[in-house]
Structures are given as structure tokens and as C-alpha cells.
Homo-oligomer: 384 residues x 4
Amino acid sequence: MDRKMRMGMVGGGQGAFIGGIHRIAAALDGEIELVCGAFSSDPAKSKASGAALYLPPERVYDSFEEMILKEKQLPLGERMDFISIVTPNHVHFPPAKMALENGFHVVCDKPLAFNMIEAKELQALVKKTGLLFALTHNYTGYPMVKEARAIVRSGQLGKIRKVIVEYPQGWLTTHVDNKQAAWRTDPMRSGIAGCMGDIGTHAENLAEYITGLKISELCADLTIFVEGRQLDDDGNVLLHFEGGAKGILHASQICVGDENNLNIRIYGETGGLEWKQEEPNTLVMKHLGKPKEILRTGVGNLSEQTRAHIRVPPPGHPEGYLEAFASIYRNFARTLRSVLKGETPNPIYLDFPTVEDGVRGMAFIETVVAANQSPQKWYQFKNV
Amino acid sequence: MDRKMRMGMVGGGQGAFIGGIHRIAAALDGEIELVCGAFSSDPAKSKASGAALYLPPERVYDSFEEMILKEKQLPLGERMDFISIVTPNHVHFPPAKMALENGFHVVCDKPLAFNMIEAKELQALVKKTGLLFALTHNYTGYPMVKEARAIVRSGQLGKIRKVIVEYPQGWLTTHVDNKQAAWRTDPMRSGIAGCMGDIGTHAENLAEYITGLKISELCADLTIFVEGRQLDDDGNVLLHFEGGAKGILHASQICVGDENNLNIRIYGETGGLEWKQEEPNTLVMKHLGKPKEILRTGVGNLSEQTRAHIRVPPPGHPEGYLEAFASIYRNFARTLRSVLKGETPNPIYLDFPTVEDGVRGMAFIETVVAANQSPQKWYQFKNV
Amino acid sequence: MDRKMRMGMVGGGQGAFIGGIHRIAAALDGEIELVCGAFSSDPAKSKASGAALYLPPERVYDSFEEMILKEKQLPLGERMDFISIVTPNHVHFPPAKMALENGFHVVCDKPLAFNMIEAKELQALVKKTGLLFALTHNYTGYPMVKEARAIVRSGQLGKIRKVIVEYPQGWLTTHVDNKQAAWRTDPMRSGIAGCMGDIGTHAENLAEYITGLKISELCADLTIFVEGRQLDDDGNVLLHFEGGAKGILHASQICVGDENNLNIRIYGETGGLEWKQEEPNTLVMKHLGKPKEILRTGVGNLSEQTRAHIRVPPPGHPEGYLEAFASIYRNFARTLRSVLKGETPNPIYLDFPTVEDGVRGMAFIETVVAANQSPQKWYQFKNV
Amino acid sequence: MDRKMRMGMVGGGQGAFIGGIHRIAAALDGEIELVCGAFSSDPAKSKASGAALYLPPERVYDSFEEMILKEKQLPLGERMDFISIVTPNHVHFPPAKMALENGFHVVCDKPLAFNMIEAKELQALVKKTGLLFALTHNYTGYPMVKEARAIVRSGQLGKIRKVIVEYPQGWLTTHVDNKQAAWRTDPMRSGIAGCMGDIGTHAENLAEYITGLKISELCADLTIFVEGRQLDDDGNVLLHFEGGAKGILHASQICVGDENNLNIRIYGETGGLEWKQEEPNTLVMKHLGKPKEILRTGVGNLSEQTRAHIRVPPPGHPEGYLEAFASIYRNFARTLRSVLKGETPNPIYLDFPTVEDGVRGMAFIETVVAANQSPQKWYQFKNV
């Protein structure tokens, strides 16, 4: 009989932000059940977190190491199928590596790792083990992002000429004294980039996902605006894509009053697209010499791939961030179920970010930081 | 130990729309688990539906009667705590009544019943049994609807003068030949009203919920635009509220090209509010002689009640229809857990539509239909 | 040789609002020159106003009577061709009548007159004299209103089913102590209606202009919200149109925080339209089962009539209220020039509101006031 | 006695676009009259154009040289006060120079000249003659641009950190075969830049006007996307401002489906602003941790400078491109009148772009073209 996929979680204890999001995302479609967790490096906090999630005490662990080892000893019909890693950046690699080495599939928050060395090691491990690995670049989970990708692929825009991708936030306009801000602005936990790693990578991933184009070289101007901060809180980047398209990517966490305004505009020879994360159910399609069309989830002839990512088919019932996030989990779970049953995964559900996207994101971080330091205008994209 | 609340579902088999929505809404927060169901009046279909939901075959029933009776025989630690009724209107009353009579709490889709007689009987039963009863007028679950209500209550708008509530949809612009349309346009399954029962009641509920005002009399002009249809597919209503406020309510299913455009505008002596379901995370606040303010989930000083209904606290992470729906389930589940533990429910979570709202909605339907037939301008609101 | 048309103005002295608007509207296209005026009932104020407009002192008169009589004595090549009446409602009729009786064409602000008796007399005079008469229902001068009308006429929407026309303003939310408010809320100067006469007539005119449908009966609920005010400051009206379309018209001057939000939505059997005066260069076109299109001035295939009312053809150069107003003057001037030259007017420019629209507007005022007082739901539209 | 200022026009004959715009802008406020013109280098076309504008034949000239010489011979009470130059870029300098040398004030379309040498010569001539010179960077004429500037100056935003100014258009997405496109894409008539000269300069001017900051260095990536075109049709530019602010400027004429989407976002330490030319009556003000405010012409406490640029004071009566353009003419005319009367100009009306802005714009063009060719990331702004 088919069953729900079993998830163990690393991180996401009480007071954390992203862990709760992952749990909702995993629960939403009724295809995954949370069976165990190591929710904090503080065992007491881990226990309390597990209890609040209605987990039996024996499945709440003091550390991810303990979880991986003990779960491995449980019978197949009971133990977790995969782990979900929702810790700060510097604690992505250790549990991911150990899980893969012990036969567990992995869902990991982005960016993939603390640096490229770790990233490459995970990439090699995934290849070697053949296990599934999903990276939660959640913004590509939105239905209208799928539709944008489908439209580009269909050729309706003609050859892509220009891409403008923006990600302004305002929450770090001043020095912020909370847990979320603390690790994101700390080079020991976040890595070599601040804003560019935290949200610039989402922008890069979104642009490449929709257009199917790869950035070939870039020119970067990163800034630390808030005094005392150690990592960039703002960055402006010019892009060259393979094939000749030009672009701009800018991301910021000091754009006072902006919320989470990831958005993208794509211009081709015969048409254009515009999508904004804060109004995610709308995709504007632009034509040469004809009125714009407002594409909406639930309206008209959307691609099969788009429709597979809409949960409320009648138009005008807004879906949001959690549903986009959930689509990554659902697609991962459905693919995993196929794999466990020895079936060929449905290509519709093979659509989630992988370790390859993670390596690409790490390369973006390393390139943009190096480019910023270079006096030369153009810097080759480093995809080691 | 705390545990998830256990839900049994009536209706919502494969091919249905709203059942899947209820399941997502119940699952989303990890506080409810689906343990059994009678998903269809067709036993084979019920079985198939249950299997697809990973339910054990013995908890998938052929009828709601069987479900209620057999679940009642299960030990307390195992049997369902409440039923969720997601059938067409004419099958709300029978399972609701039977559940209440057998000690099960109830969540029921709206409108409450097929007619006022049934509604009053359920109202009496809830009173008599002391069981919890939630009606899924889901649109009041949105955080910014909570905020609108809080702002009205705070007195910031002054005395309310005018309310405009709209609910135009376009999906029944022509004759539609599917399951959703079939029962909604059939007097034997939908009741005496079409559009007014299906969506007009949401508009009425939203207006009264936010303003705290009751409609005292109304003037109605209902129309059947599509030839051969038996129930209203459009209605324009003038409203008088207790205390002197005036209003307009219009709902339609023939507003071609409109999606699910429930929206409300409220004007008081010193300020106004505007909210649109299709952009639910925004609430426009209007002032006398000062710029409008754009209130947003996650930004600034929102009321405690509003914040308790936001799942993604950082601004700009859109939440939607499913989350609003889920808030009713979550609030119901948390209240139920308190009740089962013998504790006083948290007032924050006592915020869900009840059987009283359901009776009010039925009264609206009966009043608006009678008013439409009357040659007199004003017709008293019948709240039997 | 062709020449500019010569205008004499009645009213619009210093401190007035609408007079300056009319002057800009008349000047904008370079086809009309202001040659004389009686700008105020206070001769000193009239003189000062004329001097500020660079008029020679001998063409600035103490009263409209003096202006009409003295201008009539000037040679044909010098005297004014038409008068523009920009006084409060109760001073529309006297100068209009006298101008027509003395052979001058007329442009008059709306509403046409103080009451229906005056309106009918003007209608008869226009018919008798054969002179041109334009009423400045300026909102029909917008290009996208022309486009909406053209689309309805083309049959693209199918038969019209529903019309929602709104005109909420907020400027009379409290007692306002200025010249504009004073006469508009005074029955001696404004007539039997306040809000309904001032802006309700614009809504009525817009709806009938675009749809080509006539209101056949209506149901009205007018209110005076601000204590001490003598005329309605708010009104909600249900409409029946000839041919079966239904509608809602509401207008208000107590919608706090609203600006000048005239807007209209039209729904037919196969398509719909939406236009908002505050974003006048956009017209939303709705389709059955297909994405909305955003029609814009300057984009794509607009009707000839629309294009004739766009002054800045490249898209994205917003035109506004003054240009729409100017189109009435320009069309009037071009038609007048044809008439003066004995040529057949170009049908493109025959598109301005006439005395017939004015009578229709007066009938709307009288009907809506009577309907408000009636206990019956429906009241026949009185077009005496 | 006060009088209208007298304008002679160079260029703008039948078939031209911008000439008609200038004429409307000059006529709108009733402070300028067109008294003569040399509308085309083709004398017959000039005559026909003048006749259509109701000018007497003797004031319609065959060339700007003839116009300047003959007008100079007319008596002071009759001859033109200033010339308005609305020709393509390469014909700005000759009439401007000759006018200045013959004692006529000048209004000139932008960019100031064909190259920096001409620009500097004009700058010197203006200084030497003491005549007035206005450059029609019309977008700074909008009321809410004035308000943005006033807000920045007031310090409400704190120190400016980031400026994003965009100007995407789509009209040159493909090869376009009309008069407007022809000269703009021809290096012999347009100068060394295409898109950057035509619209990039507007973006530069807008950013510096509002913020009061000067660009100190920049990094440019210009592209010719349409095959066979000789000048840039797209450009992406990173900016450094004096004082440490960072920025992005991008302009394009191949952004298919975009209209005339000049817009700017400014972020300071404590607040931000956002303005879009296509919705010019709105200015979004952003705050740290508080709701956005929607500033609108006519609402609340706008600066005196802003109010002086609003013609329709009640809110919600949209003003547009022509009014913004007209404000330059009106301000120029009022300043000129003061000068002619020997009075000190009112500082309110001294607010129009001058020859200095024109030199700055030429420097921007030269800098951005040179920066594009440089392999170095940063290129000093050349303000010779």
C-alpha cells in the first residue's frame, strides 16, 4: 500500500523561523508525515519542540548524529525516509553529508553549504549514492513561475534579450538584534556573503530557472551600508548570459519599507513577461503592439506543468508562499515514493531544485564576491 | 500528552473540489489528522478516495451513518473527535444532526443547511449538546479581515456610515456542465437561492463580521441571466444596518472575466477601510485629509488577533485562501483541545464562525429571496 | 481663412474652481481664444479677473447681460462666437437662454439647469434657434471612454447584462466651509439634489454614454449623513435598463479618503469592461475563459474615434482630466467652425454632450429624488 | 499692462510629434501665445503648418534664420519674446546660438546639443548674454516629482543610500520605419548615443533633480539589440553618487510591451520614495516598520512648491504629461515676464531645467558611452 513519506527534521526548534515553514510545507498536501527530529543543538529545547509537535519522546533526538544513527536502526517500515535540514548555513553540510552516507534522502534549505568545497563534496556524494536531494529554492515552486518557464520554452517570447531580476527587502535597514539577523550577518555562520547569499541566490536561481539561460559573466558592486555590519547588505550586479542576453540583478536588505519584493522581468524579441513574488498568482505577458495580458492561476490555457502546481483550481483563490514551498516537498515526496516503489518518477514531479542548483548558487556567491573586489568590469562566472 | 485532533470527513471524494480544500486546511498546521471518512455516497468511490489519502481500509466507510456509528464504538483514544461535512447543501443537515446526536463535534461547510427549519434544528441541537460547531465561512479567516475588525472595534473609523460589499464571479456566465455547477444551480440540492446562497452569504457574513453591525432591512433585485437556469445567478441588494448605516451588497456569477472578487469598503465618520480577497494581505486605510496607508501582514503594529492568524511573520510572504481556511480549522482544533482537556479556551482561538452565523446566513437567504419578490422597497431582515 | 473660435465666459472669476478648468480646456488645443468675460456678479472682481487673464478692459463686463448685448453690437469678425457658462447651477439658465436668444452658441457646465422646467425651455430654444449647445459632462471626453463605447457598439461584449457605476468622493465627509461646498449643499443654488446632482449625473451620463442603454426605472436610497446638511450627500441606486440589463449606481461625497473615484464596470454575455477615472488611460477588457487584456491609450488597434481623442500618441504619456475636458471644447469648436463655414460637421467631432444629455440628467435628478421618497421598489424614469 | 509672452517656434511642422506637444504645453495656461514659426526646413510645409495653426502668413518663415532676423526688426510690442526649438538633436545648436546672439530667450528640447562642444558654447553664450534658457526635461515638471524633491530636502528619508531609476520603452523592439525612429537611430542626427541620449538623460536628470546628488562615477553596459541599428537601444548602468550613495540606471527601447515606464525608487536611512511616470499623481512613501503611505496630488500637506504645480486642486482629477510639460513653459513664461518687467523672479517659478542641466546631460551621454568602451569597472563622470 502507498503511504506517506516519513520526514526527520534537523533544526527548526522553538523560536526559529524557517523550520515552521518547512513543517507546514511538508504537511500541507498530506503526503509527508513528520516522524522524528533533532530540533536544536540544545537537547532540552529539542525535546520541548518535539513535544509541541506531538512527536513521541523517543523520536526526538539530542543531535542530528543521534537521529541519523538511531533511525537507521529502526525497521524499514518505521524509520524516516529523508531528513529535512533547516539550520543556519554553516550547519547544512554536516547533517547532509551524514544523511547521505547513511542512506537517507535529503531536503536542505538554501544555500547548499557554507562554501564551494562543501558544496562540491555534497554534489559528489549525491552522485555516488544515487539518493534524492532537494534544495528549497522555494520561489520556483509558484505556479506562475512554472508558467513563465513554459512560455519561454514555447518560444513565444523569441530569443531572450534582457532580464531584470530584483530582490529588495528592508528588514536590515538598521542594526537588527534578533536570531534571524544574527546568523545572517555573521561570516562564521553565513559564509562569505550576506545579502547576496541569503537572497541574491534566490534571484539568480529564479532568473536561470525561468529563462533556461546561464549567467556567463558579471560585474558586481556590493555594499555594507549599516555601520558595523560585516557582510554585504546590498548589491547591484550587471549580468551577461550565455547566448548574448544582458541583465541586471540587484538585491538588498536595506531598501527601507520594501518587504520581500522578489520580481523578474524578461524581454525577448517578440514578447515579455513580468512576475512579482508578492502578487504571485499574476503573470503579465507583454506583446509587440498589442495589449498586455494578465495571466492568472485558474484562468485560460495554462501549461500542464503549471496546472499541476495549483491547488485551488477556480480562479481568484490566492495561493501563496507556503503553497509554493509545499510544492517542492510534494514533488520531492512523489518522486521519492516512485523511487521507493521502483517506478519511473513522473517528470511533472521531477521539478524541484537539486544539488546541482545548489552548486550553481554557491558559484554565484563566490563569483559575485570576487567580482566585487575586481577592478575589471567583467568577471567570469566560476562554476568549478 | 497533547495530541492532534482526529477528523472524519463526510463527502469530498475524488472529483470534488471543496473536500480537498478542507483536507489541506485541516492538515496545514499539523494539529489535526484525518483518521476516517465517508467520502462518497458511492461506496466504491469512497474506498478509492480513502486509499488515495493513505487511510486504512477499515476507517473508510460506505456512508456517514456507518461512519458515525462505527467510530462511536471505537475506544476514546482512537475514534474521531469531530466530523467535517463537505457535501452539497442538501446533505449538510443529516450528517450534522446525526454527529451531534452521537456526541461528535462538527465542522460544516456553508451555508449551514438547506433551509431555515433545518438550521434552527441544528442550532437547538448545538445548544442542547454543548458540542462545538464551526461553519467554514473561510473568508473571515484572513489576517487582514481580523485587522479590519480590530480597527472598527477600536473606534478609529468613528461611527460607520456606509458599507459596500461585492462578490462578483464570472464562472457561470454561460451554462456550465460540471459537477460544481450542477448542484449549485439545482433547487433540490442548493436550496431556494443560487448565487445569493453560494456567495451572497459570504458577503453578508464578511460585512457583519468586520463591522459588528447587523442588517436590519434590505431591498433586493435578483436575476437569472442564463436561460434555463432555475436559481438566481446575480443579485443587487441595498442594505440598512441597525444604527443607521447604509450599504450595498452585490454578488454575481455572471460577471464575465471576474474571478473570485469578494471585496469590502467601509466608511466611517473619520476613516475608511478597503479589503480585497484576491489581494488578501493588504488592507487600505483611509483618512480624512491625509494620505492612505497600506496596511500589510507583517508590517507595523497589527492587533494581537491579527498576528495570531499570520503564519509567515516577515512581510511580503503572501498567505492565501488555504491559510485563511486553515485558520478556522486550527482555531476549532485548539478550542476543541482545550475543551477535551477541560480547560478554558483561549479567546484568540474562539474566533471561528458558529452555528449562529449559519442561522444568520440562512436568514439572509430567506430574506433576500422574499425581498426580491416584494413590490415594497424595504423588507425586514427575518431572523426567526 | 480659418481662425480660432472666440469665447466669452460667464462666471469663473478669481477664487472659483471650475472656471479655470474651462479656460485651460478651451486654450489647450489652440483652437479657441478667450475674447471677453463677465467673470463675477461683482464688477470689480470681474475686472480684476479679466486683467489677470490679459483681456483688454473693454471686453470685461459687469454682467452676462451686458456682455451679451455689447458683444452682439461688435462686428462679426470680432465678437465672441459662443459663451461658456461656468456659474453655479442656479445661474446656468439665465445666461444660456439670453445667449441663445441673441444668436450665440453655448457651452454650459452641468447639470443643465436648476430644474426640469428650465431644462425643457433650453431644449426648446436650442431646437428653435438651431444653435450649438454643449454640456460639459467632461468624463465622456476620455479616450478610453470612447474606446469602451466603441467596444460595446462593436458587439464584442454580446448583450449587456449588468452595469456597475460608482462615484465615491470624500470631500464632504464633514461640514466644509468653502465656496465650492457652500453652493453645492444649498438647495437655493444647487437644486433639489446634492450629491446626486453634482456627481450622480456624471455617473448616469457615463453609463448611458458607454452602453447606449437607457435607464427605464430605478430604486433609490439617498441619505444626508452630515448633520445640518440640507441635501443628500450619499445615494445608492438600483437600476433597470431598457432591454433587461440590471445595474447599480452609487455616488457619495462622504466616502472618507476617496478622491474622485468615478468608475464603471460593464458585463455582457461574452465580455466585460472596467474603467476608472483616476487611471483613465487604462481600460480592462475581460473575456470568458481567457486572460484579461489591459487596453491602453497608444497601444494596439484602438477605434478611430478613440485615436481622435488622444493628443500624445506614444503609449505611456498619461493624459488626464484637463485633456478630457478639452476634448469637449475642441469638438465643439471644430463643429462650430464647420457650421460657421457652412460645411457638414465631421462626425468624429460631433461627439460632445448636448442639451438632450442635459435634459436626461435633469430627469435623472428628478427621478432619483422622487424614487427615494417612494415606498415602492421601482420608480419609472421620468423623461418628460 | 501684463501680457502673454510671445513665442516663435523652430521645427514642429506637420507630421512631427514633439512640436505639437510643445504648442499644447505653451498654450495650456494662457500665458504664452504662439506668434510666429519656422516649422520646417521645407518652406511649403512650414507655410502649411503655420496656416493650420491660424498664424498670419507673414509670421510663418522659411527658416529659423529668417525668423530670427525678421522678428528682430519688428517693434518691441509685437515681436516674439523667445524661440522654442523642437527640432532633432543636430538642429538644436544653430537656432539656439543665433537666437541668443540676437537677443531672444530660448526654450530648447533635450538633449541640449549634438555634442559637448556645442553644449559648452551655448552655456557660455547664456552666461554672456544673460538671457533665459530652458531645457524641456519635462518629467521634472510633475507635481509629485516636486514633492519627492521636497521630501528629500526635508531630511525625512535620512541620508540617501540607494537610487534605482529605470526607463524602459518598447517601441524600438524591431526596426521601425518612421520619422521619429529615423533620426533617433541615426548618429548624424542623434549624436553618439541612441537610447542613452534620448531617454537615459531623462533618467539621469530625474535622479539628480530629486535627490540633489551628483553622479560621480559609473559603469556602463550598452547594447545594440536590433540588427543593423547604429546606436545603443539598451543600456544598464551602475552608479556611484558623491557622498556614497549607490545606484542603478537602466534605459531601453527594446523592452517589448513597455510603454514609457520612467520610474524611480529612492532609499534613505529612515525612509524611501517610489514614483512612476505612468501613474504620475501618486508618490509612495515608505517608512521603517510602518505602513506605506500613498501620497497623492490634492491630498494632505504637500509642499508649497508641489501645490504650485497642481492645476486641478481637488484630488482624483488626474494631471499628466502635458501638464508637466506645460509647467516648464509656465515657469519660464512667468520668470521671463518678471525679467521683462525688471522684477525679481519668484523662486517658485525659477524651477525649470536650464542650460546647466543640458551640459550635465551631455556629460552623461559622453561618460556613459566612454564607460561602455572601457574595460575598467568604474569611469569618472566627465563634467568638462
